[in-house]
Each structure stands twice: as structure tokens, then as C-alpha cells.
Symmetry: C2
Subunit: 417 residues, 2 copies
């Protein structure tokens, strides 16, 4: 299938907002073993959108369009679809009623603006929307199916899961195409080393496509197998995946549904542990990433962001002598921070990060980009890892948070740091 | 000028990475008063990239291409440009020497792979790269200028600032086009209310274009004025901007270069204060946003993420009676957290956040999406704001962090919360 995405909105072409719908749709479509051939991003411009709809319909089998279904005059996707495919816009009575009821349940009155959101191109298949006001719909033109979804990410995702992606899977299976995607997510390995480790395994697995992807601060290996049935595809994919995981060992932390934070928390949960965090240069980034994981509140007790050196003493009990002798960016300070937060939180395991995000140095011998990460507790000695990255300030902080999460994961799994 | 962006890489079309180059380039181009007409995102596919280069060159005056200049075989932008415009690829001796020296300074040996990065299409204007290995270049075809930049965001941004954007400004001014962009960034106001406040002012400013943009959790008003000179454009834009800021009052927190965190820290710096943070549902998000601001280390002492209720007692001194009586999601708890962190950090001003990110409730009377934010110190009584948002878990946390930053900003500026 040739699949394209068309993302609309002046907020995207002006750079005020970074699109998240395109990447999300592409990753869900990749999970079905299909590829997105092209994304196009256009502003709220009727002629440009209409022209691109026609062009995309002539090239592709499936086009997913996001945005421009709101109540205001710059929401012109319905009009663009009508112009592109020579249809009239009609108000769908069932959708008008749905919108009216939605407003009533929120205690609000329908305005003429909102009635616009019940308009669809004549002959469209109306999908409605259980998650918001805008009406989603499908237009068929020639051999192409065009799905029109709202630009609000939450609504787009729910509608896509509910209708688009399940339908796409069924369509592929009806055509006898059975695929399986496996992603092996890795951390603390360079993409070239990942490729070097995997390449020798591939010749015994001719039915599996393979690629590596840099997804800073991580790297991924992706495998897609085809087969005559869902089981056959899965068996082929998993056979290679097993070999890959064996070769990679500890750097392979999870699969498609995992994040490094969810993998770390999963390992901690399996031990029955609670976790706490002490952060200097990252100032809360690591603890916020842990809290992003649904269910984190059972496992994450909390964290201290001791950005000022004085708070490392006052809150974490790092000794003034140690700070004077070794400095706040040191192996000894990372160790004392991890042991301090462990004692003060009552957690079973703790991680601490200190370092120099840069761009400037701190007058010590350590160059910018130097980070010390310590893991304490979990029935083993405190261990400190030192890294140095030739990266910008924010990249150093993101790498440091990833390193801290990985140390937690490894300790809970009994792997060396 | 018609400007287009072409962003390449399988990591984008597979959804493994969300593009950040497109949005950044678009916002910098918008700052010159120009608009990006279209972004196109393509995978590492020679024919597709070559075809799009030809199509974009026929439509646009300026095309910015990112990605595909790396050392590996899937880096095929040079070959695509050669195919598109019927040129040979040639190794540029000066660039080869630049890459060799770069490797030598890092103590690494050049491999044949890396020599690929000195290749450019014959006749291209070679830009080089002071920030990385890949060689940037410009190809002119018909009336179109195509700029080829590396996909690594740091390198792309530095090269664009150094060469592309300054050249674009000069080109516009040489054509007698003088423009001024002003962005008024706002928080805690709906886009429709913002528009309603600004619309009546516009008719007295016919030379200024205007639009609003939702940039969750904020909204922006953007104004572009044209004039016969840089000064004339600026005077026109600033006249409207002044009126807008007067009408909007406290919700307008800053301009294009500001973030809510930088505006809050700027206000705190002007008072000579230090700041500390206590977070429950956001678990470090607010303190990490403060630490993102360059120079934050002079002002941010630190923060505590007291995710578990027990740590609100132990670390922040919230009384067990209060927690039993009012619960951790309450006005009283937010107040006690803010006063607790103020006392324990030695800061001059502090903010605290507690709430229910959802999706589930906590058994209390508060529905998911309820947040209490408290600001303490700065020579005024502790003040608590209660909000409720009908949003998903992560949106609630992002809105809560924005509310907390805004309370800090308002207190330092002497504005009501």
C-alpha cells in the first residue's frame, strides 16, 4: 500500500507548534509493517490543501489528513475536500445532533460556528467522533481512501486506533499479507556498533527486513517479517529477535511499547522495590520521566533536584569536606547523593546524577559534558559511572537522564552497570 | 518568496523520531516575516528525494533540505541532488581536508565512509560545516536556491543561523522588503478570548497582518508589519503590540525569544530572588523547565518531587493531621508544600503543585484534572489557585507546570495571581 499523510495548520508551518500527529501515525502504521511514503505539511490555505488532496489521491492508496475540522473560519479542510473532489458540503443531521448533545452535557449552548463542525463532503462516510466535537469522515476517490481526522492529538489518536488502524490491519490480512514488526530498543550503544552486531545474523533470516534508527538518546533495530499467516510472520520475526537480543545483551532494554523509563520501572516493580532520585544537572528531568509512566505512583517515592551546591549538603547530607575536596561534579559527590537520597526517602534503590551540562566549564578539571551517575541500594554496593559527551547542553542532560534510568534498570535486573 | 522545506530520513517516516528541524526552520523564517509554504518529509529513498527536489525547485524560490549527508550508504542526499539536477558528484578537496583535520583533533582515523561526507554535486556552492562532519552546500537550479544542511539539529541550527537566515534577511532588504514580526505569548487565556480582545484594535493598523496560534499549554498572537524601511516596519508593529499588551495585561508574558520559564526567571532575577519548587503530580517537570533556561543555576536553588504522600510530611513538613483531614490534593496541602519548600531551601520565593493528573480519581471529592498551585514568599501572603482541566494525564501535568511558572512570574512582577 502507498500511504501518505497530510498535516494542516498555520501553527505547523509557522513553527509555533511541532507536529506530533505525523510521527505518531507513522509509528502505528509501521507497527503494521507498512511504511508511510510521505508527509506533507501545509498551512490553512484552501487552494494548497485542495491541490495536495488531489495530488495525494492520485499517488496513494491511503491518505490520512489531520487538522482543519474545527469551528473557525480558518478550519477549511471540508471545503478543501469539496473543492478537490467536486462535491458539495452538507450538514450531517446525526452529527449535528451529536454535537448538540455534547454541548448540552457540558452545559454550553451551540453557536453557529459549532454547527460548521457537522459539515462533511456529500457522499463521505461519516465516522463521527466519540472524543471531541469535530466530525471525522472518509472520502473515496478513484482507488484512494482519504481519512479526515481532527488535529487535536488525543482525538486523532483515539479515532485512528478505533477505526483506521484496525481497518488497515483487516485490509492487509484480507489481501493475504501477514506481517510482524519487532523493535529492539537499545541504550548506551552507537548505531554503527548496533548494526555491526546484528548484520552477521541476517543471512539466516531472508524473510525479515531490517533497519537501525537513531532515536536520541537511544537507538533502535527494527525487523519486519512477512509470512502466509500471522503466526508464520510472528515466528520468523521472533526467531531473529531472540538471536539479536542474545547478541546485544544488556544494551537491549525493550520493545516497541517500552520506554527506558517504563523498562526501568518494570524491573523495579518485579523486585517489589520503591525508587527515589537525586538530580543536579538534570534538575527533575529523570523523576519527571519516571512519573510519565502510568502506574508510576506505586513505585516512585520522589526526588530531590539539588541544583545549588548548598542543597546537596542540606538536603542530601553530602559532607562539606567532600564538596570542598572533590567538588560537586565528582564520583564521590554522585555516590554521596545516591546514598543520601536512599536514606532520606526510605526507597530500596536510588539513582543520582551530577555533571556539567555546559557550554561553560566550572573551573574544575572536568570538561563540559562530563557526567557522574550513581546507583545505590538494591542489595549491592553503590556504583558510579562516568561519561563524557561532546554534545550541547540539552543533549547532555537528556543523555544523563537516560544513563540514570539505565543504571536503575540494570541494578533491578542484576546486570552490571 | 515561496519557501519550502524537505526533511529526509527513515527515522522520520517510520515515526521513530519526531522532526524538530522543520518547526525550528519555520519559526526562524517566520521571524523574518516570510512563510514556509510546505514541508515535505520523505524516507531515505533516492528516487523519491530526487523527484521531490525537482518538483520543489520548480515551485519554490528557496528550498531548505535537511538530512542524508552522513557517512553511511543510506545517506543519499548528494546522489539525489545529482540525479535531480543532472550533475556529477565530486569530492571537494578542501572539505576532505577539513574532515581529516576534524578527525585528527578527536584522535580518530578517517575511514572511506567518512570520505563520502566530502562529496558535493559539481558546481555547488560549498558551505562546509564548523559544527560537525557533514558538508553543507547550496545548489542553484533555474530561479531556485536549494540549501542542503545536515539533519543533526545542532548542526542545522548553527549553519542556518550563520549563513541561511542572515542571507535571507539581506536578500529581502535588497528587494526593499522590510518587515517586523512581533509575537505576544500568553498563558491562562483561551485562543478565542485572545482573538476577541485583539480584533477591535486591528482596524487602526492596516499595515499589520495578525493571527493567533494555539501552542499548548500557551497561545500566541503574531503580528507582521511591512514598511519602506526596517524602522518603519518596526514602528508600525510595535505600535500595535503596545496596544495589545495593554489590553491583555497580565496574561501576556513575553515575546518571541521568551519561554514561560525564562519569563518567570527573568522576573525573579530582577528582584534579586532565589527560587525553589515543590512538586507532586508534575514530579520534577517544573524544576526541569526552569533549569532549561541558560543561567538558571544562579537563580534556581532546587526542588523536591514529593510524589508519595509520606514524603510530603517527611521532606516538606506537611502535617499528618492536615494530610488526614484535607488530603494531599487540597488547597491546604499546596499551601503547606509551598511554605515547606520555602523554609527548607532558603529561597525567597517558592511554588508548589499538587493535583490529580488522572485518568483515575483518588477517592476524594476532587475529579481528575484538579490542580492546586501555591506561591509563597516574595514578601506577600501565600496564595493558592485551584484549576480543573478536562484533559488527558500528560496535558494536565503540562498545564500545571505552566500555571506554577505563571504564579512565580506574577509574584515577582507584583501582579495578582
Amino acid at each position: 500500500l502507498r500511504i501518505e499523510l497530510l498535516l494542516t495548520g498555520d501553527e505547523l508551518t509557522s513553527g509555533a507548534v511541532s507536529d506530533s500527529n505525523g510521527g505518531w501515525l507513522a509509528s502505528r502504521i509501521a507497527a503494521l509493517g507498512e511504511r508511510v511514503a510521505r508527509f506533507t505539511v501545509l498551512g490553512d490555505d484552501l487552494e494548497a490543501v485542495a491541490g495536495e488532496l488531489r495530488a495525494a489521491a492520485s499517488r496513494a492508496d491511503l491518505v490520512v489528513v489531520s487538522g482543519g475540522l474545527g469551528p473557525t473560519l480558518d478550519d477549511l479542510t471540508v471545503d478543501a475536500a469539496c473543492a478537490a473532489f467536486e462535491r458539495r458540503a452538507v450538514v450531517d443531521p446525526a452529527q449535528l445532533e451529536r454535537i448538540r448533545q455534547r454541548f448540552a452535557s457540558l452545559g454550553r449552548q451551540l453557536t453557529p460556528n459549532n454547527e460548521r463542525q457537522a459539515r462533511v463532503p456529500e457522499g463521505a462516510e461519516v465516522l463521527g467522533n466519540d472524543f471531541g466535537t469535530a466530525t471525522a469522515f472518509v472520502v473515496r476517490h478513484g482507488g484512494c481512501e482519504l481519512w479526515f481526522l481532527p488535529g487535536v492529538p488525543r482525538e486523532l489518536r483515539k479515532l485512528a486506533e478505533q477505526k483506521l488502524l484496525s481497518g488497515l490491519r483487516e485490509r492487509l490480512e484480507a489481501e493475504g499479507v501477514f506481517r510482524c514488526l519487532r523493535v529492539v530498543k537499545c541504550v548506551r550503544i552507537a548505531e554503527s556498533h548496533l548494526d555491526h552486531a546484528i548484520a552477521p545474523l541476517l543471512q539466516r533470516h531472508p524473510h525479515v527486513r531490517y533497519g537501525t534508527i537513531a532515536a536520541f538518546p537511544e537507538v533502535q533495530a527494527r525487523f519486519v517479517a512477512e509470512g502466509g499467516s500471522a503466526d508464520a510472520a510472528k515466528t520468523r520475526c521472533e526467531a531473529l529477535e531472540r538471536e539479536v537480543r542474545q547478541v546485544l545483551g544488556a544494551v537491549a532494554y525493550g520493545g516497541e511499547a517500552d520506554t527506558l523509563a517504563s523498562a526501568a520501572l518494570g524491573a523495579i516493580r518485579s523486585k517489589g522495590w520503591k525508587v527515589a532520585v537525586a538530580e543536579s544537572l538534570t534538575a527533575g528531568l529523570l523523576s519527571a520521566q519516571l512519573a510519565d509512566v502510568p502506574g508510576a505512583s506505586d513505585l516512585l517515592l520522589g526526588g530531590m533536584a539539588t541544583y545549588a551546591t548548598g542543597l546537596k549538603e542540606r538536603w542530601l547530607g553530602v559532607s562539606p569536606e567532600l564538596l570542598a575536596r572533590e567538588g560537586p561534579v565528582s564520583e564521590a559527590c554522585a555516590r554521596a547523593m545516591a546514598e543520601g537520597i536512599l536514606a532520606r526517602s526510605g526507597a530500596d534503590v536510588a539513582v543520582a546524577l551530577t555533571g556539567l551540562a555546559g557550554p561553560g566549564g566550572d573551573g574544575s578539571e572536568h570538561p563540559p559534558g562530563t557526567v557522574f551517575a550513581a546507583v545505590a541500594g538494591g542489595g549491592a554496593h553503590t556504583h558510579v559511572v562516568r561519561e563524557r559527551w561532546l554534545l550541547g547542553r540539552n543533549e547532555v542532560r537528556r543523555m544523563a537522564a537516560a544513563l540514570g534510568l539505565d543504571l536503575l534498570r540494570r541494578r533491578a535486573l542484576g546486570l552490571p552497570a
